[in-house]
């Protein structure tokens, strides 16, 4: 009987693991996430020490952190933002200057994503003073942000247990 069962079990395991390996798990670490603009979090958050919530200004009051509007870039950079044709900054200036229809859009690629059945809201985490890096990694050292932690349920539960936060299932699943 073992002759059949053992290989069968191994086969199933391999099958499962390979599906896992080749599948898209948006919440798992990835080596790289390409972006339409070579925006460097290292320069902004690291070198220039701009607080995260200066740009992601909704994090303290909403579920969403907020993707900064182009006006936020222009607010600091002013006219200096203009780049040579072909340079990476052009999409930013185009979004600001070009008013033709349909409007030009900057299409950032999402770095962090959670499954649909999880309700995550930034608000209480910011309020509790959890550093952004606890989940998002050392963003201030990354030129291009990539996920470094696997944000799965275990990751959430570990921290919630440690900090005596709610472990009630409906807190996140509803």
């Amino acid at each position: 009987m073992n002759r059949i069962m053992l290989p069968l079990a191994v086969l199933l395991l391999i099958g499962g693991l390979s599906t896992l390996a080749f599948s898209q798990r948006p919440w798992a670490p990835r080596p790289d996430v390409e972006q339409p603009i070579p925006f460097s979090h290292r320069i902004h958050a690291g070198v220039n020490q701009i607080p995260c919530q200066y740009c992601h200004n909704l994090a303290s009051r909403s579920s969403e952190p907020g993707i900064p509007p182009v006006s936020r870039c222009v607010g600091c950079h002013g006219n200096k933002i203009a780049g040579a044709p072909g340079s990476g900054i052009v999409p930013v200036t185009r979004a600001w200057m070009d008013h033709s229809q349909p409007p030009f859009e900057i299409r950032w690629n999402r770095v962090y994503t959670l499954p649909d059945f999880v309700r995550f809201t930034h608000r209480p985490h910011i309020f509790e003073g959890i550093p952004c890096q606890r989940c998002h990694g050392p963003v201030q050292t990354m030129d291009r942000v990539v996920p470094v932690e696997e944000i799965n349920m275990g990751f959430c539960i570990d921290c919630h247990t440690e900090r005596h936060a709610s472990l009630d299932c409906v807190s996140c699943h509803h």
Binding site: M1, N2, M5, L6, L8, A9, V10, L12, L13, I14, G15, G16, L17, T19, L20, S23, Q24, R25, P26, R30, V33, L58, R61, S62, S63, E64, G66, I67, P68, P69, V70, S71, A95, W96, P103, E105, I106, R107, W108, N109, R110, T113, P115, D116, F117, R119, T121, R123, P124, F127, S166, D168, C169, V170, S171, H173, H174
Partner: protein, 962 residues
Amino acid sequence: MSSGLSRRSFLKLAASASAAAAVPGCEPAARKLIPYVVADPNVTPGIPSFFATICNECPAGCGLLATVREGRATHLDGNPEDPISQGSICARGQAGLQGLYNPDRLPHPMSRNAGGTLTRVSWDDAMKTVNSKLGAASKAGKDRVAFLGGAQGPSLRDVMSAWAAANNSSRVLYYSPFSNQGMREAAETLFGRRDLPVFRIDQAEVLISFGANFLETWISPVEFGRQYSEFRAPKERRGSTTIGRAFYVGPRLSTTAAKCDEWIAVAPGAETEIGFAILSVMLKQRWVSQNSGVDLDALAKLVASYDAAAVGKRTGVPVDTINRMAEAFGKANGALAISGSDDPASHLAAFVLNSATGNFGKTVMFLQDAPQGATNKAEVVKSFVDDLRAGKIDVLVVAGTNPVYSMPPEYRAAEALQKVPFVIWAGGVPDETAAMANLLLPMHHPLESWRDRNPRAGIWGLGQPVMQPVFESRDLGDIVLSTIQNPKWATSAEAVKATWQDLGTKAGGSFDDFWVKARREGGLFQDQHVADVKLNLASVQAPAPYTAPEISLYSYPHIFLYDGRGADKPWLQELPEPISQIVWDDWAEIHPDTARKLEVTDNAIVELKTEFGIIQVPALVRPTVMPDVIAVPFGLGHTAMGRYAANVGANPFAVLGAGRMSASVTVRPTGDSRKLVTPLGKSEQLGRSIVEAMTIEQLAAGEVPEGHEPEVKGPYEFYPAWDYPKHKWGMTIDVNACIGCSSCVAACYAENNVPFVGKEGVDNGHIMSWIRIERFYPEAHEENPPLMYLAPILCQQCDHAPCEPVCPVFASYHTEEGLNGQIYNRCVGTRYCENNCPYKVRRFNWFLPEWPSPLNLQLNPDVAVRGAGVMEKCTFCIQRIQYGELDALQEKRAVRDGEIVPACAQACPAHAITFGDIKDPASAMMRRRDQNKLRNYQILSELNTQPAVVYLRDLHSAKGKA
């Protein structure tokens, strides 16, 4: 298996392997994030914005508060500032969203060619055609261009008049099938005015309704629902505990009738007789007020042929019932008689009753500067349609009304439209009238456009667009203003602003402040001044004595579908009509005695033939209708109007006379049948305590109804009691306040992304509503039962929940705050919990729910959309609880009582549902329990499920007591 791989290890390995296979998500890894160029201050991703606007689903003119998430409206509530809705709206109002996102809305302009087929045209081409047709018609002569619309606010009326004038015409008409013409006529005869009075049910002690379904569709149901729950609340009057006494005189035991103390069944048309008979008794017994200003001699002459005995003989109503009503009405300190009948004489009777008892100015009043009716008189509309048929109109614009469906057959509206060379239809979902139009233009939904309303003196509702248009539609005012040269206003937004500029000038102060305030509060709400009226009986003639036809057809506006405008909204089709509990169909209610005579049974299609035509409707044999009366609701029987409305049921408008709701009818069983579908299990409680009632006499005497004590006495706990560190959420539901309007059900559909399943789905038992209005008939053995048992049933959030221990995967579990949580992503769909739930409030997704695009835009982003194979249920709107708790956490305080309001409680016009923390004895919810100790009960308490929901028993007066 001594060595190697045991069966157990195999299962473990296999399980982990398949679990590994199951983990991968199927979402695209990269989703795009598109930032604003400049952030919109009105849009905060993740946080709702609220816009005050006005409802357009009936003429009541309720103020709305639209919840807008990321630029799309997801929920409609009442506007708390608005004196009419006061924070709650009905199911129809909430379903306005499904009109906005209706997948069958006309997506772009369409033109009908000579062959009758529709082709897509661009807006530019469409407007070119419109301009050339209008130009030619206005040059051809005076009054060759016309507009026919539904009830409209002052600004759009101005726009339409200006447009007509620019086109050399004065023909602007407004038509609505239910515009209270009977009451207006009676008011004109008695008081010389045509406006509608304001009613204050809450100021009365006795109410008599002559067929007015004031809790469903009559005039302003949300407002009346609120007033009625106040009227029915137990109060100390003259040394004893009493409630308002209500009588319903009419052919059908409607939801409204079911909430009254007595239903006096009469054939349609006989309500008038009863009204006059009550007057005659009151005169004789001197129960009328001597100084009301009513000419009592004239009145005596008027009611001479209506003495109680004669009327009792003609109508079959016992004389002592008439006497009882007269006595209650005449002796009450505040009484109100209203009529919803199609017979102007019944309104006359109601007005005289109120007047003669000195109740004018107290329970009913006319206001100074009252707006005239928003629709034209029936004669005007009829002669207009005659003109159409005579070919006197070249271009007709129809918008916001559906004459082909709702005009009486004697008008021959369809024939008239065919005689008009060019018909332009503007609207949402193309209906029967659109099917006859030459050019179809997609019109903005009211939630996408600027408009206003003046439903009564002192109340000006401002409607502002709450989101960007969903389709390639335009505003009606903008369309017509673009066809005239040098219009007074370029857009209807400007026209609205101009109207409000005038209002602002009158109100004084800076206009900018006024305008901000008006948009923020949803309108202008001023003091109302009661008009002095004098009742003049001189021109009143006694109506001809009533003779009952052998069998009569009685039609009434469907509580959800109203005049047919609700039929394209799946929520409204799927909400069970509270009394019949039928969904997705119409039905002919026939009394069992009549059914026996006619030899029809349930579901048998009967042919109803009046002098105007024939309709075929499946029979529903129920005692909820008077014998020899066949009741068929208005609202169904569309031949067009999208996938949800078309070809469902029959249309009684097609067989009734102008302005009539009843007719003499001959009935013939066709031999065919069609299954009427209901989610209801049994109509009897079979001795179980599900909905309980007691009489006010019992309450006053401090008695608790017998037979409802828990049969098993505790303590017999097997497990230790739950520990609730912070909160334990609970609910108190006052069955006495509940009016069965199902607003809570609609609100739950909207808030919790509850899918609709269609007629077949309901027939298969797949209805998904998390909360429902349960309806039971009283049983023969009951002593002093209410007319009907009606109560909202939702998850009882039991302490000893039968659903929890049977879940093999802990998807169903007890939360830290006392809820019976349901974790959708854990659920594997065994349905054990559903089978073990005694309240039948868990719902299983047998199929993947579908919201045909763009209905999906309505979905609440705070609630997961459940997939096939998943059990779902009410959790007291856990997303709202979470939101409130986070607010409190952030502000470092405890959750305030009343801060968290589930969708059902918020929607309830009668404030029957209170939510709160059981651990806080000072909470409004706990106080409501404590203050009504004698009325507390829990559903099926003998099961020791220990629900967190406590109901308060329904109250009614024992029959025969005055």
